[in-house]
């Protein structure tokens, strides 16, 4: 019961919606400790992804579709989140090869490669108050769930829940990467916008998987 291209397209659709619904809130978070454009950056990127997906052939592999997400984000977003998320999708897609149905292990491989891509580009560690604080717990929770034999959608749900907790965990932190790192103690008490958006994106992945499976 793996996840195929219909999951990827559903994930993209849900992401477009959730990013657009949270555009103002994400920019608000970014205004507090950054430059106030994170919501707009992602919204611009995923709107472009949606346009590309409109003409997608039905037999495209998940890997190929996710690579399209990657290249579109890289070419349209700019800002820090563009290359970071773009690289996440790119490296994740490469880990999938030509597979048409993704099982739990493949999803863990996807998430791990995606997270490693963000680290490769951004050099952030856990606790630096970046999107990595959402991604790394998500990867860990997904591996644990897969090791317990959970279904693909349950693996993604575990990742999503861990990402949500991870995003919340950024609030008390001082930042060491990104614009917020210039603020020192003034960043304390504010949630990192990139961690928050990553938790939304991973939640969309789980929602889409549950809808696709059922």
């Amino acid at each position: 019961m793996g996840l195929g291209i219909s999951w990827v397209t559903a994930w993209v659709d849900d992401t477009v919606t959730v990013v657009s619904d949270n555009r103002v809130r994400l920019s608000e978070l970014d205004r507090e400790i950054g430059d106030g454009d994170h919501g707009e950056n992602l919204d611009r990127g995923f709107t472009a992804v949606k346009a590309k997906f409109d003409g997608l052939a039905a037999d495209t592999s998940p890997g190929a579709a996710l690579k399209l997400v990657a290249t579109t984000l890289i070419s349209t977003v700019g800002g820090a989140s563009g290359p970071l998320l773009g690289t996440a999708y790119l490296k994740g897609a490469q880990a999938l090869g030509d597979a048409t149905e993704l099982d739990s292990e493949q999803l863990v491989a996807f998430l791990t490669a995606a997270r490693d891509g963000v680290v490769m580009r951004g050099k952030a560690e856990i606790g630096d108050k970046t999107m990595i604080d959402a991604w790394t717990p998500a990867v860990d929770a997904a591996s644990a769930a897969a090791a317990e034999g959970k279904s693909p959608s349950a693996v993604l749900r575990a990742a999503a829940d861990a990402a949500i907790a991870g995003a919340a965990s950024t609030e008390p932190l001082v930042a060491h990467k990104g614009r917020a790192s210039y603020l020192g103690e003034r960043a304390v008490g504010h949630r990192d916008p990139g961690a928050e958006s990553s938790s939304l994106i991973l939640t969309a992945a789980a929602d889409a998987a549950e809808a696709t499976e059922s």
Binding site: G36, R44, S75, G78, A80, G82, S181
Partner: protein, 336 residues
């Protein structure tokens, strides 16, 4: 507050169109930004600069003979994307390598670095010198993590002049790095700026107060005080920029030569800047600094933010020569 636009989504595209139409003698629009409209016949290294839009004349206003060869132009206050930068690099390359120079921001570093990797894979010798002039963004011992603000201009000008002289990429990179070593800035602001179509300013400063050490994208300041007099602001600038940790290696204040750039961020006007400059000139003169070729005006703005920054470029003979060399761009012109 921004008022004149058609569709906020198309703002930057239309701005680039208008800029290129108004400056057709200088620039040519390419995907992701602009390059010089006239290619010089001689080969040599190219200087590609760039960053988010909304800082005019940084960056596109600085493309032309004696300064940059191309500028990657991102969305408002957002780094250009990797693809955009790559496109501008390729359009600006003259076959002898490319120096990338831009302010140190996570988004720009990520995108410029990815673009650099991509063109290097095709054999273009592409290097980077980050601008890290903002003394309020990290302590002196972490200077290379500081962000870049109006000091961009000194580094770009020095690198552009060296490239114009026909120096090698190694040399252009070396002087750019030396220019950045010798450049320090700090900024203050009184109001935030509101992007086209936005309901609220990116940040706000209470009436009568001044944010100290803020970034040029509305990143909050480090400190806040009452608005000082013009003289008080000059004293604040001098106190911080002449503090011992900020004097570059090899410089002794008394007897030093220094280019001051008093930069308006958008709504602080020249008249006010001249009043501040008067005090700056007195204060720096008292400390034994000889001011070289002062610049007072708008060099790196933040839309219509009300604020100002002071940049000091501590020159040696080589840097002074490069700084004062001729340049002819849409927004920065000087005879030789």
């Amino acid at each position: 507050m921004t008022r004149l636009w058609n569709d906020p989504q198309r703002f930057v595209d239309e701005m680039i169109d208008g800029f290129a139409l108004a400056n057709a003698g200088y620039v040519r629009k390419v995907r992701g930004g602009v390059t010089r409209s006239t290619r010089s016949p001689e080969p040599g290294p190219s200087l590609v600069i760039g960053g988010g839009s909304g800082h005019y004349p940084a960056f596109a206003g600085l493309v032309g003979p004696g300064l940059a060869h191309g500028a990657a132009m991102g969305n408002l206050f957002a780094s250009p994307s990797t693809t955009q930068i790559e496109s501008v690099i390729r359009a600006s390359d003259r076959g002898d390598g490319v120096l990338l120079s831009y302010g140190n921001y996570a988004g720009d570093v990520l995108n410029f670095t990815a673009a650099q990797e991509a063109v290097r894979a095709d054999g273009i010798d592409c290097r980077t010198v980050l601008v890290t002039d903002d003394i309020f963004s990290a302590p002196p011992d972490a200077r290379d993590t500081r962000r870049g603000i109006a000091g961009d201009l000194t580094v770009f000008k020095i690198a552009g002049a060296a490239a114009e002289e026909g120096r090698s990429l190694d040399e252009v990179e070396r002087v750019a790095r030396q220019g950045n070593e010798r450049t320090r800035s700090m900024g203050v602001a009184f109001t935030g700026c509101t992007l086209p179509g936005a309901d609220e300013p990116l940040f706000s400063v209470p009436e009568g107060r001044m944010a100290v050490g803020l970034g040029i994208h509305g990143e909050p300041g480090i400190d806040e005080t009452d608005i000082p007099t013009a003289e008080g602001l000059a004293e604040l600038f001098v106190e911080h920029l002449l503090s011992p940790g900020e004097i570059p290696d090899g410089v002794t204040i008394d007897g030093a030569r220094c280019v001051p750039i008093l930069n308006g961020l958008g709504s602080v006007k020249s008249e006010e800047l001249f009043v501040v400059y008067r005090s700056l000139a007195l204060l720096l003169g008292e400390r034994g600094v000889t001011l070289v070729d002062p610049q007072v005006g708008e060099f790196c703005t933040s839309f219509d933010m009300a604020g100002a920054s002071l940049t000091l470029l501590w020159v040696d003979d080589e840097l002074e020569g490069l700084w004062t060399a001729a340049a002819d761009t849409p927004a920065f012109r000087r005879g030789s």
